[in-house]
């Protein structure tokens, strides 16, 4: 267990079943006595060790995919805003929903298939968070649909429904911008959007809506998504426009057809 033998095996060790033990040993030996105390505390938590790897990987991914617009050190350019202080939650939302990297400029970055693996997204989030602190990824307990749906629906109606529609079906904003539909959006991404306020969406920080409030809102949205609409066909849940069009085409169509039949000559 001498350090010269251990050191070259580090890369392999990450993949072997002995990775944790190897890391503990490595941490103690490799970094010297001054660092040893810290390492001993955190070495059992592999996430921290992986995180350092992850940050390096994230930096490479960032340089390749994001730095053109956001700058090599997140300072932002003419083409894109600075990412200093946006935090891991923002990266996870923007990249995880496919909004970033931007395919072309427009009023708003649309949701599109995410081209990165979960680890890649995590790596970029880790990197951006390592440069300067910001809102982190939500805790698992607030992503459960075990909250109070009634309370969540009330908070949703007051804070969200004016843009996202009372049924979460989305709606139009100004000059080509829009609030997207919330149907099918994961609890994590809904939470992250509230915390970070992507694009033109306002920020709903924990001081405004507490994590419990956010959990209740997610619960309400998921309840709506899973419960069949008591009114039958939703027609996109867009309200009078879709319903009116349906009534005009099919309702009036039926009336016209009946009228034609009544007034047609019998043979």
């Amino acid at each position: 267990m001498s350090s010269p033998r251990r050191r070259p095996s580090r890369r392999r060790g990450r993949r072997s079943p002995l990775a944790t033990i190897a890391l503990i040993a490595l941490g103690l030996v490799f970094t010297g006595s001054g660092y040893a105390a810290f390492s001993a505390v955190s070495a059992g938590d592999t996430a921290v060790a992986v995180s350092q790897e992850s940050v390096e990987r994230g930096q490479k991914l960032f340089a390749a995919n994001c730095a053109t617009c956001h700058g090599m050190s997140l300072e932002g350019t003419e083409a894109g805003p600075t990412l200093i202080g946006v935090g891991a939650a923002s990266v996870d939302f923007q990249v995880g929903t496919g909004r970033m990297p931007l395919a072309n400029t427009g009023p708003q970055a649309p949701e599109k298939p995410n081209l990165f693996s979960e680890e890649d997204v995590q790596a970029m989030a880790d990197y951006v968070a390592s440069v300067s602190p910001g809102p982190g990824l939500p805790e698992e307990e607030y992503l459960q649909t075990t909250g109070d749906a009634t309370r969540g629906a009330e908070l949703f109606r007051i804070n969200c429904a004016m843009c996202h529609n009372v049924a979460g079906a989305g709606g139009a904003l100004t000059e080509g911008k829009y609030a997207p539909s919330l149907k099918g959006t994961s609890a994590k991404h809904i939470y992250e959007a509230m915390v970070t306020g992507p694009q033109n969406m306002p920020v709903f920080s924990d001081a405004n809506l507490t994590p419990e409030d956010k959990r209740d809102i997610i619960t309400a949205l998921k309840y709506q998504e899973e419960t069949p609409a008591p009114g039958g066909f939703e027609l996109g849940a867009l309200g009078p426009v879709a319903e009116g069009l349906f009534a005009w085409i099919f309702g009036l169509g039926a009336i016209v057809a009946l009228t034609v039949w009544i007034t047609a000559r019998a043979n």
Binding site: M162, P202, I262, R265
Partner: protein
């Protein structure tokens, strides 16, 4: 007028005014085309073949029986697919089957009746010519005679006292309604005054809608938006009416992004601004805030307000900016109102003066 089997000799119901006299035109133009008349009347299959007639009769009665089946099905569906408490989905199925069955029952009666009349009822065509609107001279003279006689016998024209007192009585009848309806107005009898003021006053804390928890200035981060009610809204006598006037939207911008006009320098607190949520067009809640453009959009008629320029109207039918609520912080760091709004919130009304100090 029944002329089965011969369309050419159909006579209009009223032919006393000649075929050319059109009631709608003063000038009768010479028609370049010859009137082709009505197409020849054709016998129906049911008129010609008694077997088809019998078959159609059975068909119509079958449709009526179908209606009975549908009606019974509606009753069956009501019990077979009951509404279960706390299960909205059961309402949908119950209503769907009940509605389909009742619609089928009613539609069957309608379809059967129409089919009966088209296939089996007496088959003849008749034409009813359009009447001229002007009555004949004799009718008109007779009408004048009747009026004259009525006037003479009743003494309506001659007995002016009777006539005028009757008119006076009729005018007085609706008067109680004015007082009745006036009493529906707010008790203070000053609706204009009530519209001009909200429950915001000096020191009222800004609180979160709907739970009424007060907001600290430090909690309002850049880019966030708070939906705000007065902290003492719960104590108001008419809570919803007060909320409808006092609802406020709270936003924080970078102080350098705000264009503040003279006299309003102290109305924001470190870039935190509060504006009435009630649209100045027709009073919808303006709450669609875009945190990058700092524009507020009203969802009803697409009025847009620019928060950077004191909620100036930049698009849409609204005519005035949203009124700003002057705010500051109290000793505990909570946001409070400095005063009420300096002008009435919401849409215009009759008594609204144009010269509020804004």
């Amino acid at each position: 007028m029944a002329n089965p089997g011969s369309g050419s000799d159909i006579v209009p119901v009223d032919s006393s005014h000649g075929p050319q006299a059109s009631a709608g035109t003063a000038v009768i133009a010479a028609d370049a085309f010859e009137n082709p008349g009505l197409p020849p009347h054709q016998q129906r299959v049911t008129d010609l073949d008694p077997k088809v007639d019998r078959r159609n009769e059975r068909g119509v009665s079958l449709i009526f029986y179908l209606s009975i089946v549908f009606s019974i099905a509606a009753i069956a569906a009501y019990f077979a697919v009951p509404i279960v408490e706390d299960d909205p989905a059961s309402v949908r199925l119950n209503n769907l089957f009940l509605g389909l069955a009742i619609a089928g029952a009613l539609l069957s009666i309608g379809v059967g009746t129409v089919h009966w009349s088209k296939a089996l009822m007496a088959n003849h065509e008749s034409v009813e010519a359009r009447h001229p609107t002007r009555g004949s001279e004799a009718t008109r003279a007779r009408a004048v005679e009747v009026f004259d006689l009525a006037d003479k016998e009743s003494g309506f024209g001659r007995r002016a006292l009777l006539r005028n007192s009757l008119i006076g009585a009729l005018v007085a009848v609706p008067l109680p309604a004015i007082f009745l309806f006036r009493d529906l107005a707010p008790k203070s009898n000053d609706p204009a005054g009530m519209l001009a003021h909200t429950m915001w006053k000096e020191g009222t804390r800004l609180a979160r809608d709907p739970y009424g928890t007060p907001i600290k200035a430090s909690e309002v981060t850049l880019g966030s938006v708070f939906h705000v009610i007065p902290e003492d809204l719960e104590e108001a006598e008419h809570k919803l009416e007060e909320k409808a006037k006092a609802a406020v939207l709270l936003m924080r911008l970078k102080p350098e992004d705000l264009n503040v006009s003279a006299g309003r320098e102290t109305w924001n607190y470190d870039g935190i601004v509060a504006y009435s949520k009630i649209c100045t067009h027709v009073g919808c809640p303006v709450a669609l805030y875009e945190q990058q453009t700092h524009h507020l959009l009203c969802p009803c008629h697409q009025s847009q307000f620019d928060i950077k320029n004191e909620a100036a109207v930049i698009f849409g039918p609204a005519k005035r900016p949203l009124p700003q609520l002057p705010i500051t912080v109290d000793s505990e760091g909570y946001l409070v109102a400095q005063s009420d709004f300096h002008e009435p919130v919401g849409p215009s009304y009759w008594e609204r003066r144009g010269d509020y100090d804004v």
